[in-house]
């Protein structure tokens, strides 16, 4: 059983606390440190480590302060360089090289986003939990087995985007960047179809775009595709 707490999931900022009851981890640090502190009731010392996918500020804003607070940051060399991170609290990780934090065994993997060296994460523990964290990517090269939890970006739907371009609310250049940076509902469904979702207890849809998504419809369609419990990370 994994406890997932969403601190925020949008272009304004992203952060999630996950815990298996023994080891709590912060996924992303996309808010000012004080905001994260407040959201976690000032119990930052409970956090055993922080994983960061890439250098955009809505994912890495608090990284320097988190390190100063004595918590290790785990991220790629590319992300660290882009954000100017260094020091003994920085733990540089690489795609497909696993490491452990407390009870968690973690495998980073490459994802597709327009940044230096973005990563997704596969986390597992001996209790049988297995969680994949996939955000800010337009597709995933990999497949996973035996997942119990999926936290996946579901940013836009192509028909909504096309509608807005036709109506002049979205510039075609923005659409083009979107197609190469973020996960569409259609691609998420395709990914879920080819992965083994029989053991999945919970699916979190992350990073829904304000204008290009429809939370209720996305939730409905993913539930139909997988039969699993689906939550939409609002805020």
């Amino acid at each position: 059983m994994i406890d997932i707490q969403c601190l925020g999931s949008s272009s304004a900022g992203n952060a999630y606390r996950i815990s298996d009851g023994h080891t709590a981890i912060l996924l992303e640090a996309g808010f000012p440190y004080k905001s994260i502190q407040r959201a976690l009731n000032f119990r930052m010392s409970d956090i055993s480590g922080c994983l960061i996918t890439h250098e955009h500020l809505d994912h890495s804003k608090a990284a320097p302060d988190i390190m100063r607070a004595g918590i290790n940051i785990y991220t790629s060399a590319g992300t660290a360089a882009a954000r100017g991170l260094s020091g003994h609290r920085l733990k540089v990780i690489k795609a497909l090289e696993k490491f452990t934090i407390g009870t968690w065994t973690i495998l980073p993997f490459d994802i597709q986003h327009d940044v230096e060296e973005p990563l997704g994460f596969l986390l597992a523990n001996t209790a049988g939990d297995k969680l994949v964290f996939l955000t800010d990517t337009y597709y995933c090269r990999h497949r996973f087995s035996g997942l119990t939890h999926i936290m996946c970006e579901c940013n836009y739907s192509l028909d909504i985007v096309n509608e807005r371009v036709a109506a002049g609310h979205l510039h075609p250049a923005q659409k083009k960047r979107l197609l190469r940076s973020h996960f569409s509902l259609e691609n998420v469904k395709e990914m879920l179809k080819v992965n083994d979702t029989r053991n999945v207890e919970e699916i979190w849809l992350l990073h829904l775009s304000d204008g290009n998504s429809d939370a209720e419809r996305f939730k409905q369609e993913i539930q139909e595709t997988t039969g699993a419990l689906v939550r939409v990370a609002d805020r």
């Binding site: 497909l96 009870t103 065994t105 596969l122 995933c140 090269r141 087995s145 036709a166 197609l179 691609n187």
Partner: protein, 301 residues
């Protein structure tokens, strides 16, 4: 009985529409194949249409607009296609009926063009010997040797040959990668492509080969427009297509290799926890310690 009557009325109305349009098109210069009987084709089409359903299982004639049915049937007749020969079939998209050609149909329409005598396609399997050359700027087949055993091997590519009325043979080759990129543009989920890859690959290369001939032929624009409309029906409309390289990249790379981890066992507990037990054991000559759970640290007075 009332349902049968309704279908008959619909059939008569639409058939009349199609026949009127056809007459007008023939006045404008459209020529139908010599042995083609439009009436028979329309009757056959309605027979097929009664079996066509949308994705919710509703009959096509109930959900589709009358104009889209009439237009699909007109495209069928203009191209001289016969549903009885499985040259074409009808698919419901939302509330519209669209005509799609099978590759028999594409071969049939190509043979109607005044500059084409014949067209055929073959699949290249792993283990085949396949050689072609570029002679005078055109691709030509030199050799394709295969054996029965190779038919279950991996498909490496596919080619089509068009024989012109001058008996010149022009080759069109597609690699497996090109075929896959083409399939990713398809509106369907590609389930039929996975089941019948050889036939679908032939179909793809015939459509590719046909394009050059169709759009440069001297034949009536009415015919060429109808042919191209049916080909386009298989693909998402241009405005909805994501940039081709993105779609192709995703089709090629997404959801491929399985990665997994075996969680590592938690390291043994620290020495601090061991010490209290050791101490208890020393003071516990009768070995009662196991009967009483250790006190929580918080309760240490």
């Amino acid at each position: 009985m009332s349902t049968g009557n309704q279908v008959a009325i619909i059939q008569k109305d639409i058939t009349d529409d199609v026949n009127r349009s056809l007459t007008r098109l023939q006045d404008d210069g459209l020529i139908l194949p010599m042995n083609y009987n439009a009436s028979n084709a329309l009757k056959s089409a309605f027979f097929k249409l009664q079996e066509v359903q949308d994705k919710n299982g509703k009959p096509a004639l109930e959900v589709c607009s009358r104009e889209s049915v009439a237009n699909a049937l007109l495209d069928m007749v203009v191209q001289g296609l016969s549903p009885a020969k499985t040259q074409c079939y009808f698919i419901v998209y939302g509330s519209k009926l669209q005509l799609n050609r099978s590759y028999f149909g594409t071969q049939a329409v190509l043979k109607r063009l005044s500059n084409v005598k014949d067209i055929w396609a073959n699949v290249i399997y792993k283990g085949d010997v396949f050689e072609y050359e570029v002679a005078g700027g055109r691709e030509k087949l030199v050799k394709h040797e295969t054996s029965f055993e190779n038919r279950d091997n991996e498909i490496l590519g596919v080619y089509a040959v068009v024989k012109s009325v001058d008996d010149e043979e022009i080759l069109t080759v597609m690699t497996k990668k090109e075929v896959d990129a083409s399939w990713s543009q398809s509106k369907t989920s590609q389930s039929v492509h996975k089941k019948f890859p050889q036939e679908m690959a032939k179909r793809t290369v015939i459509n590719r080969a046909a394009k050059a001939y169709i759009n440069t032929s001297d034949d009536s624009d009415l015919l060429v427009d109808a042919i191209n409309r049916s080909t386009d029906n298989e693909y998402e409309e241009r405005i909805d297509v994501t940039p081709e390289e993105v779609k192709a990249e995703i089709a090629e790379h997404a959801n491929r290799e399985v990665i997994d981890i075996v969680p590592e066992v938690t390291p043994p507990s620290s020495k601090q926890q061991t010490a209290p037990r050791t101490k208890q054991l020393v003071d516990d000559p009768y070995d009662f310690a196991d009967d009483v759970p250790p006190l929580e640290q918080e309760m240490d007075f």
